[in-house]
């Protein structure tokens, strides 16, 4: 592989990693705070994509540039409405009970949302590429790239990473979330409303899933089953990083994106294995993930 192809592979890897990070970080955040593996995360990704496409298609005839706010609006609507509903009515009654129940209830939510998706948007693939078409292509060594994929997506991913870090470490709301994450009982004892923190965190995590879907919608066909693939991939990323680790999620997504791109250039038959092979290799050495730490169990 010469240096030209290596640069092309790096660009492809970064673009893929950006999208994977956006979805995985929501899953990781929810687990970090609520200790819930949200299987419905895949459906939130799919709903975000479908609603964004619906908004984009509706608003593009008025002004194509309004499709960008439409993507953001769709993410927030799905995060607040669907994420809020799941946390308030499905998960909240189960806090403190067996973890398996949370897994089952989020899986049930996933199944219901999968069917709802078909009921609302049908089974024919939907595509809404308007936002992508607005931005010019970039030529790298004679190979065209869309600036949406090599500039905008990584830009949003970086903004998300640094924005989330700032929010958690520099703001009062973030500090409250971290406090609840560290010790729920002590936080509650000093007057923090843990229920509100859980709700807020779940809505933010769900919004990231929906944002991932919304930003993917201009580049991919929206089809039934798209959420199932994403939940498996984002879980692999979150587990490799260490559940709840924001920076780890970014690094793992980048590792997966780059490895996948190089594998496609060199040994494409192994492409499908990349995320899971990385996960196995990391978890063999560090069972709690790249950035995870051994959990101290209170007795």
């Amino acid at each position: 592989m010469n240096s030209t192809l290596a640069i092309l592979a790096v660009l492809d890897g970064i673009s893929y990693a950006a999208l994977v990070f956006l979805v995985s970080v929501g899953l990781s955040l929810i687990f970090g705070v609520l200790r819930v593996v949200n299987v419905a995360h895949g459906s939130l990704y799919a709903f975000g994509a479908y609603l964004a496409a619906t908004f984009s298609l509706a608003i593009a005839p008025i002004s194509p540039w309004l499709t960008y706010p439409a993507l953001l609006a769709a993410s927030i609507v799905i995060g607040v409405v669907c994420g809020g509903f799941i946390e308030r009515f499905l998960l909240r009654p189960l806090y403190g009970r067996d973890d398996v129940l949370q897994l089952l209830i989020t899986f049930a939510a996933f199944m219901i949302m999968d069917n709802l998706q078909r009921l609302i948007w049908g089974v024919q693939p939907i595509f809404a590429a308007e936002p992508l078409k607005l931005l010019p292509n970039i030529s790298v060594f004679g190979v065209n790239y869309t600036s949406y994929q090599v500039l905008l997506l990584p830009g949003v991913a970086l903004a998300t990473l640094f924005g989330l870090r700032y929010f958690l470490r520099k703001t009062l709301a973030g500090a409250v979330i971290l406090a609840v994450t560290e010790d729920r009982e002590a936080s509650t004892a000093i007057g923090i409303d843990a229920q509100r923190v859980y709700f807020l965190t779940f809505v933010i995590g769900a919004s990231f899933a929906a944002l991932g879907g919304a930003l993917a919608s201009p580049t991919t066909s929206l089809v039934p089953g798209m959420g199932a693939d994403m939940i498996v991939l984002s879980f692999a990323v979150a587990a490799t990083a260490g559940l709840g680790q924001i920076e780890g999620t970014a690094l793992t997504a980048l590792m997966i994106g780059l490895t996948r791109a190089f594998v496609i250039y060199l040994q494409p038959e192994f492409e499908v294995l990349v995320p899971y092979l990385l996960m196995v290799l990391v978890l063999l050495v560090r069972p709690f993930g790249l950035f995870g730490a051994v959990q101290v169990r209170k007795i």
Partner: protein
């Protein structure tokens, strides 16, 4: 006089009894069990096919059904997974006591259900699955394929490519990484090596089934610059690949061959450029050059569009083929049984070797040696036509199934290896849009 009255009364009684006996033999309905994808990515085929089945059954029943008996449908979702599919299929056959089944879309489903149908002695029409190997390895009594398989489908596309773009030197493939993607490439590449051995395969890419992003594959192909890019992908995967390739100029750089792209043309709309070679998986096209002026053909296509919002695609026509085959064999069996209602075994006996015509394409024959349907293949090239917001097919060739299907008893790959470069020179009628 009394004798006459007695004889008359006896005659009436006999006629009544005979009529009652015949009426008893004729069922109240013919139950058909259909497996199709109602969930998952393949529902892009399964749901239109279900809509077609309901339309066809309704129309058939309005006309009196088959041999005067209405049909009744029940559906099983192939998307539920292998174990659920098999148990639901068994339930359909044993509890609902269906008279015939149409199974399935996926070759994986067919592989699972064909032995079950044989075991349960229920007549099954493989209505859409394409794996050639299913009927090549074993002779079945109860299983028939009412359409072609992957071998003629791929061979027709390859011959079209060789006839229209004979000078290409390099080719790359982007297929979905599952049975169909792998098997269709094996068929295509085996025939390509036999007919044009100087072509270099520069990339064999098999992205994950359902992959949402092909950016890396597109980059690699842009860097490799192959003369031809083949894909046998379908559904959302094909749509995504074509759109991402188009946005980055790959469709303009290489000749694209969408081997089963007919079902995506309407969705791709303006994003599908002119000059792409498209296969139809049979001779299916809502503007079929030999049928488009037929009133029944037009009426069906328009009714389907009114019901679903889209013109029919190939699974719709495959469903119609299964229905027409069933109607044909029942009528044949009734005739062979002297006008009486036939037993299930008599219907199965009548099926082998049957020729049937849907009116939506050329007639199809169920080859008696292996129960494989011999179906013509239509291949064309995309062209913009005023009045349509998507591309139509132009320079359509319709291939004779007897020429491009492997002979009965010979495995596809073995037969494809025997092809010579002269095979391309076959005469094929070409139709303008």
């Amino acid at each position: 006089m009394n004798c006459f009255k007695a004889a008359f009364a006896a005659g009436i009684a006999l006629a009544t009894l005979t009529g009652a006996a015949l009426a008893q033999g004729k069922p109240q309905e013919i139950k058909i069990g259909i497996t199709t994808f109602l969930s998952g990515p393949a529902s892009v085929f399964g749901v239109p096919a279900k809509a077609a089945a309901e339309m066809i059954a309704e129309d058939l029943n309005k006309k009196g059904g088959i041999g005067g008996v209405p049909v009744k449908l029940s559906f099983v979702d192939e998307g539920a997974g292998g174990e659920a599919l098999v148990s639901n299929y068994r339930r359909m056959v044993q509890d609902e006591k269906v008279d015939a089944t149409f199974a399935s879309i996926s070759s994986g489903s067919c592989n699972q259900l064909v032995p079950v149908a044989e075991d349960l002695k229920v007549m099954n029409f493989m209505w859409d699955c394409g794996a050639a190997s299913i009927l090549e390895t074993k002779k079945y009594r109860y299983n028939f394929r009412t359409q072609a398989n992957g071998t003629p489908e791929m061979l027709a596309v390859l011959v079209y490519l060789l006839k229209t773009k004979p000078d290409f030197k390099t080719i790359a493939v982007v297929n979905q990484d599952y049975a169909w993607g792998r098997e269709s490439w094996e068929i295509f590449s085996t025939a390509l090596k036999a007919m044009k051995p100087d072509v270099q395969v520069v990339a064999e890419l098999f992205p994950k089934f359902g992959a949402p992003d092909y950016s890396t594959e597109v980059s690699r192909l842009l860097a490799l610059r192959p003369d031809v890019v083949l894909t046998t992908s379908w559904g959302g995967d094909l749509d995504t690949l074509v759109r991402q390739a188009g946005q980055r100029g790959l469709l303009q750089q290489s000749t694209f061959v969408l081997a089963i792209g007919e079902s995506s043309i309407q969705r791709l709309g303006k994003d599908l450029p002119e000059g792409l070679i498209v296969g139809a998986r049979g001779d299916h096209w809502f503007l079929h050059p030999e049928k488009k002026n037929d009133p029944a053909f037009k009426a069906f296509a328009e009714a389907f569009k009114a019901k679903t919002g889209a013109w029919p695609i190939y699974p719709v026509y495959h469903m119609a083929q299964a229905f027409t085959a069933l109607q044909t064999v029942y009528e044949k069996a009734i005739k062979a049984n002297g006008g009486n209602w036939p037993t299930r075994e008599q219907v199965v006996d009548a099926t082998s070797g049957t020729e049937f015509a849907t009116g939506f394409g050329r007639p199809i024959t169920l080859r008696p040696e292996d129960n494989q349907g011999l179906e013509a293949q239509l291949v064309g090239v995309t062209k913009a036509v005023p009045g349509y917001d998507f591309k139509l097919l132009d320079n359509m060739m319709i291939f004779d199934p007897k020429v491009i299907t492997n002979p009965a008893g010979q495995r596809s790959v073995d037969w494809l290896k025997t092809l010579k470069p002269d095979f391309v020179k076959m005469d094929v009628p070409t139709f303008k849009q």
